[in-house]
Symmetry: C2
Subunit: 220 residues, 2 copies
DNA sequence: TAGATTGTTAATCGATTAACAATC
DNA sequence: TAGATTGTTAATCGATTAACAATC
């Protein structure tokens, strides 16, 4: 299996999302030209990207949506069923725990850990658990204080959804406890290590790029 | 004012975040080497990026944190006080409305619009308004059904935080009502037009890159 | 076969890097 | 002056594009 160029890897999730929609719409085949329109790239680039993944297309026909989706999902590890622990029972943390974003990518949340004693409305008995309006935690997801981290088994992904001030300390905790990956949603820039991979989500950065566009006019 | 390279623009928000932290810590000056450590780039790249912004450094001394921050904030339009309307009273939409992410960037939320009649716990009389645990809307932010969009004046930024299924319809609505920019937090890829700029946040994509790293091992 | 569409190539473009002269 | 650190350059690297031969 050849090493994929970094730029291609960065675009795979986009194909993943678009192909999933095609599958839901029961589309069976698609050409590089049509797919390019959906993902917002050129047909040439789409062909280049997909060719890097292997021999997936068929000349004169195009690509099988299912084959493509399966290949990309497998390359990305979307079928690996990683388990995540969310650090911070913040509105953002709870939104992620209850929304479809993680589960669609094959990531399941086993716990939400809080640092500040919140007057959270948790109905421990109920299933699914309703934390507050619109926030229903998935089955098997516990809500605990961070001090109970030991009792949580998952060590795949730590999702940092805490306040920025708490990030450095929680990151140390996470690294010490052997989490393999960190998805950092705080505003801090964290650096990974040999044993702990870190991805800084930089959610707010994309908003600033939009503001730059509105501010300066000239941009694309 | 020379046109900035696209790659530099993409990194400006990162400098913005790191410099803000330095300012909070009352750091006055910084060298390209130190700053590089914070933002996770090489010193060479930092100097290149900052040189593209103008004559901000001083040889033998470094950069003034304040000057740098002011210049970058101004370039990004962080001082333009853009007004945003959030489409979707979802957990994510409410998290953004109540959290510091927007306000730190000089963006204020004037309204949260909902599509489904939710049993939302809004205390209309109170100020600040508490929607649910941990979600306190800022002053001047209204919660309305989408049908009341006409009564909202802001036309700077529309934040799409609705369910994916609602995105196409709401996007049309937003474009028709003359919003200048769209920050799309749904999983769909939207394309902008001459009059409406669109940035797809692609929040989940960064999580998938992390999964790819855990899955494939070899990556950086 | 004719038409469609891929996979690949060569050319271009832009971004990154390392080194160092300029300068405070 | 000596030390530090920038701004700039030339060389390298990687990504994108357009064109077209290969092939279904």
């Amino acid at each position: 299996m050849k090493q994929l160029p970094r730029a291609v890897i960065g675009r795979l999730p986009r194909y993943f999302r678009c192909l999933r929609i095609l599958i839901n719409n029961e589309v069976l085949r698609i050409s590089s030209d049509e797919l390019a329109g959906l993902v917002g790239l050129s047909a040439s680039q789409v062909r280049g990207d997909l060719a890097a993944l292997g021999d997936l297309g068929q000349q004169g026909y195009g690509y099988s949506v299912k084959t493509l989706y399966a290949e990309i999902a497998s390359r990305l590890g979307a079928g690996d069923n990683f388990e995540a622990v969310i650090f911070g029972a913040t509105p953002l943390g709870l939104a992620l725990a209850s929304g479809p974003l993680l589960s669609r990518r094959g990531v399941s949340v086993t716990a939400v850990l809080y640092t500040k004693e919140v007057r959270t409305i948790v109905c421990e008995g109920e299933s699914p658990k309703t934390v507050c309006e619109g926030v229903v935690l998935p089955d098997g997801c516990r809500v605990l204080p961070v001090s109970e981290l030991e009792s949580v088994k998952s060590r795949d992904i730590a999702i940092l959804a805490c306040d920025d001030e708490e990030a450095p300390e929680l990151y140390r905790l996470v690294a010490d406890h052997g989490f393999r990956g960190v998805w950092n949603l705080t505003e801090l820039e964290l650096r990974g290590s040999a044993s702990t991979r870190v991805i800084n989500a930089r959610l707010g950065d994309s908003l600033m790029i939009l503001c730059f566009g509105l501010h300066s006019g000239d941009w694309e």
